[in-house]
């Protein structure tokens, strides 16, 4: 049992971290594009913004449980099978990327317009502004976003247990729901809570450390 819970924890962490990583590989550029192409952005472009905005909303409005089943063909194509923790990463990434894109977009839009104009007035190009002003100045907010994303993806990954997705959610459903072993379910919940707490704490600590705007460090 302990062995199984340990493996479950490992699988959950594996799915969550990999999905967060790939979620950002897709979501970060999407969020940047959304932020800079919106009407007050440095490369305002109505068409690009509207298209991306629509895609993000579309994927975001599909409930994760449905998405999980919907993308099974794609999952098979990429991973070769539709169950287990590696396979679960595919729907997790698809669900997380638009959500991450939105958070990145809102973080970048928090950057003072004045600092962007100051950079523009020095002749800074789009790339410099994205890297040195937007991403650099929004880093605290972006890291808070990562923390939220990890927490959300962790929750989603547990949901994948319904279709044999592996990890702690899988254990909770198989033992807690199908076999009425409430004890096992409670233990998995406790482990999930502890995981969320640890990841949340780490993220917040890091973002505070990187914040130079406040006096109370």
């Amino acid at each position: 049992m302990v062995q199984m819970l340990l493996e479950g924890t490992r699988d959950t962490l594996y799915m969550t971290l990999m999905a967060t990583l790939f979620g950002y590989v897709l979501g970060l550029p999407m969020g940047i594009v959304l932020a800079v192409t919106d009407k007050n952005g440095i490369c305002a472009n109505k068409i690009v913004y509207k298209v991306l905005d629509f895609i993000v909303n579309l994927v975001r409005s599909v409930p994760f449980l449905i998405l999980l089943i919907l993308v099974i063909p794609l999952t098979r194509l990429i991973v070769g099978k539709s169950y287990g923790s590696t396979a679960t990463i595919v729907p997790l990434v698809i669900a997380a990327a638009p959500f991450i894109a939105r958070m990145v977009e809102s973080s970048l839009k928090e950057v003072e317009q004045g600092t962007i104009e100051a950079a523009l007035s020095m002749g800074a190009g789009t790339g410099t502004i994205i890297w040195k002003v937007l991403l650099a100045e929004a880093r605290t907010s972006l890291l808070v976003g990562v923390t939220i994303a990890v927490g959300t993806i962790l929750g989603y990954s547990a949901m994948a247990g319904v279709v044999g997705g592996g990890g702690l959610g899988d254990i909770a459903i198989r033992y807690g729901y199908y076999r009425y072993e409430t004890g096992v379910m409670i233990v998995t919940i406790i482990i999930l809570v502890v995981l969320v707490q640890i990841l949340q704490g780490l993220g917040m600590m890091l973002s505070r450390k990187l914040d130079r705007r406040r006096r109370e460090l």
């Binding site: 003072e112 004045g114 100051a118 950079a119 007035s121 800074a124 006096r215």
Partner: protein, 260 residues
Amino acid sequence: MGKKEVLLEIRNLHKDYGNGPVLEDISLQVEKGEVIVLVGPSGCGKSTLLRCINGLEPIQGGSILLDGREITDGKTNWSQVRQKIGMVFQSYDLFPNMTVLDNVLLGPLKVQKRQKAEAKAQAEQLLARVGLLQKKDAYPRELSGGQKQRVAIVRALMMEPEILLFDEVTAALDPEMVREVLDVMLELAESGSTMLIVTHELQFARAVADRIVFLDGGHIVEMDDPETFFTQPKSDRVHRFLNTFVFASQSQERKHSESQ
């Protein structure tokens, strides 16, 4: 005054946000080394004019020429032009997550791709000139408003611009800090910098300007040397404007003495 080189020329500039003109038929020549102060009531378009010169606002008519070349013809490489036009803003707009030194080095290193050692030496020299060398490793939050604004001026100077635009740079400052910023600007003016200044500090305007331009309702109403402007304004409008300032400063003094 001998014939001087025209650095910046504005010809019949027209700016419109879509609900009536903000600037109409503005023409102005700025010579090399000249200091021009733009004054006028709030909302008269002074700041907008500066923003148009820097390409932060598109214009709907007329043209702007820098060094005799048109920069408003749509083919402009703004990145290059803006390096020649330094701008300092009312709200300082320093990068909050960077030290003072990193703030002033961003342009030279990332935009102009200069050598770090050389740019750093220049930064330290300029920071020393505005009395802030000891703050080079501080973050903006640790500075007073006046200090932040002096850093912002250094940041603009680091690009070695041909002309400097100052957009109400003392408007957000506590009264005691206004002086330290104006002193820096006065020194720049004396050392031959070409400057276009928007300000409400009329005494400063009188001291620093070669020419005063009075804007109202998007038009240039009057353009004169400071002496004439302040002592014998030609138009009624300027006369009234100057009078409101006299009253305003008197009532301020009265409040000041009451609070003591």
